[in-house]
Symmetry: C2
Subunit: 206 residues, 2 copies
DNA sequence: TTAAAAACAAACGTTCCAGTCCGTATGTGC
DNA sequence: GCACATACGGACTGGAACGTTTGTTTTTAA
């Protein structure tokens, strides 16, 4: 016997997690309500109860959930510039090559351009990603270094799906690139705390 | 009245082009036979005649078509190392930010991991992309610089879909990154020929 | 010229998925 | 305890997409 809000929170969480898993493992094209429910262990009735518009209610919550986790961990390190954040995430990517949360966001982001309704209901959240996670000042054009780092981050994320993907090789190449740039000195001290918070949020990574 | 092989070639071309357009503009999730046929101006019967297995026959041909175009142009510049090719493509990306052929390949590549049948029928051709386009020696692990450049290239390709995408800003940031690396001297002399061949293949870019 | 084969068009049947509705059970507030 | 709201399960239904079949036109070859 749990309270209603507890039960509600639990099922919503299960649905969100199942959606993320499917997106990461199989991609957006393989996403369906039946599949999500099977994986979450709940009925379609339950999904439609919490998310009446199906994916159009669910996916914004998925993005928000992922963003909240990352942004909260990022915020716990204190106020950071956009560049500090990006270098931190790149070094983090090297240390934890199996962390794939950004893949789910990427999938939704790519799918949104072919689905106007999805684009509409996720637009504000995606704008939040730029500001809350990447620390990008809204309205401003991105700085050259900032944007280059974002491209590298996204490219490295994608590379996991390449047929010649190898986590160590990817680490070396990102390291190679970063060695030719000048990360803010603050990044070094923050890295340990950043990695620790990631492990704490997702113990399976340890 | 055209000969049969001419007609056949023409409709197949139309179907391939239409598929590429949809993939670039709307993504894999929006890809359907009806839509492809509407856009190509042919019937579903025609599509099924040339590609009996639907997308599983069509998409490998799409990838091959794109690969052939790029690899042929690349080969016309003479024998090039993997790094020379990648720097060339990155500089090319800056000069022609509206060229989106790689987006279509990316979409199919991402979708293949959620569709075993699609993965099977595209596997060999994707391996060809690594060797014929990127000049990667098969079997060998990728060099650090080589892989970093590939990540940057893919990330820059993806960035076009970002809400704060701006072609000039992207150009600057890729330029910023490349300025910190050491492209082979040969790249400079080859760039003009590379761009010219792209314009020749797709006059709309001029 | 005529039969065969290829290119194409258009319908049909099936399956899958999403939108909807309703029944039931479990908490919640009075 | 009772009425009510919420959480959930399951079924029904319409439409979209796919796989298949059949019919028609055009080219090819004997």
């Amino acid at each position: 016997m749990a309270t209603q809000s507890e039960r509600s929170f639990l099922t919503q969480n299960r649905l969100v997690k199942a959606t993320i898993d499917i997106l990461v493992e199989q991609g957006y094209a393989a996403l369906g309500e039946q599949r999500i429910c099977m994986r979450a262990g709940v009925s379609r009735g339950a999904l439609r109860h919490h998310y009446p518009q199906g994916r159009y209610d669910l996916l914004p919550n998925v993005v928000e959930s992922l963003l909240d986790d990352e942004a909260t961990r990022m915020a716990s390190l204190g106020p950071l510039s956009a560049k500090e954040r990006l270098y931190l995430m790149l070094y983090g990517l090297m240390a934890m090559p199996h962390r794939q949360v950004s893949v789910a966001i990427l999938e939704i982001w790519m799918a949104a351009r072919g689905d106007a309704k999805l684009a509409r209901c996720t637009k504000s959240i995606f704008d939040d990603v730029l500001t809350r996670l990447f620390g990008h000042a809204p309205g401003q054009p991105a700085d050259a270094e900032e944007l280059a780092l974002r491209c590298l981050l996204h490219g490295a994320t994608l590379h996991r799906f390449s047929s010649d993907y190898n986590s160590e090789t990817l680490q070396q190449s990102v390291r190679w690139m970063l060695d030719r740039l000048d990360p803010p000195p603050k990044v070094d001290e923050l890295l340990a705390a950043w990695l620790e918070s990631a492990v704490k949020a997702e113990p399976a990574l340890a």
